[in-house]
Amino acid sequence: MPLKSVRFITWLVALFLAIPVLVGLVGTLLPAFHYFPPLGEYHFSLTSWEQLFQNNEFYTSLKLTLITGIIAPIIALWIALSLLAWGYQRAFFEKIEKLLAPILAIPHAAIAIGLLFLLSPSGWLMRLFSPWLTGFDRPPNWITVQDPYGVSLIFALVMKEMPYLLFIMLASLHAIDARKSLEVCQTLGYKRLTIWRKVLIPQLYPIIRMPIFIVIAFSLTVVDLAIVIGPNTPSTLAVTLFHWFNDPALSTRFIASAGAIALVIIIALVMLGWELAHCLFTRLTKAERSNGKRAGLTDYFLRLGVVLGLITLSSAFISLIILPIWSLTRRWRFPDVLPSSWTLSNIERAYPVLLELSSNTLIIALVATLIACLMSALMLETKRLTKQTKNHPFDWLIYVPILLPQIGFLFGLHVLLIQINLNGTLTAIIALHLMYVLPYVYLSLKGPYLAYQEDYLMQANRLNNRPWFNYFFIKLAMLKPALLTAFAIGFSVSIAQYLPTLIAGEGRYGTLTTEAVAQAASGDRKQVGSMALLQAFFPVFVFWLAHALPPRWTKWRLAIYLRVKKCYKQIPTNS
């Protein structure tokens, strides 16, 4: 990009990234200390904190948040590392690798709904074993999902986070030259899993620290997943805060704001604790690493992780298979393994609703992701031009929105939206989506963009000096595969957004995600199944396009060109 005044643009973009976060934080921080002009409160006080600490629901939901939010990342990390250690560079593992991207693309609400259909007392799992094994003719009165301990929530979180971690790890392995280390250690007689435990995982950890923190923050703050499959009354802290913020009694906002600030502090504390635990763990295992044993009992931890991982992956798949089955069901009585009669009428009946939801969803996702791609290109170009490779402000600013709890600062931001009269508009929804889409687009585009061989663009400008034209039609055109992948990732992030859509849109614009989450508990599995199915379909389709288009693009373009352009025909090719 032929940019001038790089410093100015850097500052402008940095401000653009920082302002919404700051406004959101201040907008939550002030009410937490009882300062809230819209409600006529102009005096700071600590009453909301006192109320918060006297509130029993706060403690019970905090306990649930800590349990689910700490255990889920640990299990997800454990399973991801186990699967990687077990399968790396084996033929069948490449198949699993290919499945990761589509799993990642599917909004977590869709997977959670599928999991609900699988595990609930009347779910598929129970149907498969009834009545021949269990003897049940009707669904048992058990609590299998939304259990008060958050086990099903942890399961759903692991299902979402483990593929993400595995994906990141596979992408980072080239940085530590895993293949060579494996070869060297194998000639020394070390067993495969032991090599991973002693040599590779300690090297890998620092590279994937940030993704792990993203996973922790997600587990501690997720709202939609917890609404669908988490415990209720009490729910996790994020869901409790969500209810408080939406309480018709506006004064509840103060205690909710205090709770949101508390959640930010808790995230920071958990991350700190995680790092301390990691330091301790490293110290404890340091001696063991060089004790010369070529295999160890602790390898069984990794083995167990593999088994759990395979169970998790297959449950994810089964959950996704149930969605289309339910959307095509006419009659499906309890112990039957499959519906007794099928129909398209569910979809026909829901067609007008689905069409509206889909068009809302797609407009928001396409516009937000397109803007995010352009902004990422601008940011990366300024980063490239400043040549300051380490600690560029963008590289850490971009993480802030993902690490902060959406609950909390989105409500703070909502106050700003009301002030500038944008609340409840499509523009506001797109703007909030952009805030969450941009980091993922930027991070996925960063590597390929900065690795681009600039010589091509320089040669193009020497041959034909049209800097802007060449930027788009040489550089960006050559980066097509990376751009499309980044687009697909951003698109799927946008489709999955729940709170930003709800808060910015004030419920006026429903998307597939907001409706599916809202109706997940309604019991109308046929309609919810259709919504979740569509919700899963769009991102997977876009991922497929991003994968399939770039290698064929030029061939197809040239084929069409030859038919259309007259000049090409005037000079025969074989003369």
């Binding site: 010589d455 091509y456 320089m458 040669q459 193009a460 400008n461 020497r462 041959l463 034909n464 000096n465 040489i474 055109a477 050559m478 097509k480 693009w553 030029t554 061939k555 040239l558 030859l562 000049c567 090409y568 005037q570 000079i571 090719t573 074989n574 003369s575």
Partner: protein, 211 residues
């Protein structure tokens, strides 16, 4: 005619090249040889106007008696051929060629020029192929044709033969020399290979480490 007057190059007070004077006539290729790190590539960057800021270079450059060392890279009418052909992989060979033709040439003339260039390379049937479908030697020749189509005032060759295998190298060298003579522009070749310099049938400047 390209004249380089009193070119000096230094990096952090270490003099690399001192007062180099070169004159290149139209249709002639002057070869520049010397050990790595002596500043050959920096000289090319200086001539093409893309010198990186850390280096300190002085000197004057005249193209047909017009000073160009104060002009921007785009105004210098420089053609540069590098080790890699840098053909745009997402365009057909024909599009790569017509990309370089100045905009003032109109539609169907552009195509004719591009086809003539293809004919010179001898791959008229590959017009709608993509660069990856061409052999290394064909790519190098297309890259030269593309550069010449942009009607440069002078040509810089930065080891353009080093990635070709020996048999091809001889062929491509002869092609390059013939085309430069046909285009009748001055050219400067930077190389490690004495054979390259000999094949160009022109003067050869040997750079040695300055004191």
């Amino acid at each position: 005619m390209l004249i380089i007057k009193n070119f000096s190059l230094s990096l952090a007070h270490k003099t690399l090249i001192k007062e180099l004077n070169v004159q290149i006539d139209d249709g002639q290729v002057v070869s520049l040889m010397g050990p790595s790190g002596i500043g050959k590539s920096s000289l090319l960057n200086f001539l093409s106007g893309t010198l990186s800021p850390g280096l300190n270079a002085q000197g004057e450059v005249f193209l047909n008696d017009v000073a160009i060392h104060n002009k921007t890279a785009q105004e210098r009418r420089v053609g540069l051929l590098q080790q890699t052909p840098l053909l745009f992989p997402h365009m057909s060979i024909l599009e790569n060629l017509s990309f370089a033709i100045p905009a003032k040439v109109k539609k169907c003339d552009r195509l004719e020029r591009a086809y003539q260039a293809l004919e010179r390379v001898g791959i008229k049937d590959k017009a709608n192929a993509t660069p990856e479908q061409l052999s290394g030697g064909q790519q190098a020749r297309v890259a030269l044709q593309r550069t010449l189509l942009s009607e440069p005032g002078f040509l810089l060759l930065d080891e353009p033969f080093s990635k070709l295998d020996p048999a091809l190298r001889r062929e491509v060298r002869a092609f390059v020399l013939a085309e430069i003579r046909k285009a009748n522009i001055p050219a400067l070749l930077v190389t490690h290979d004495a054979e390259d310099a000999k094949a160009m049938e022109g003067k050869c400047v040997d750079l040695v480490a300055a004191e």
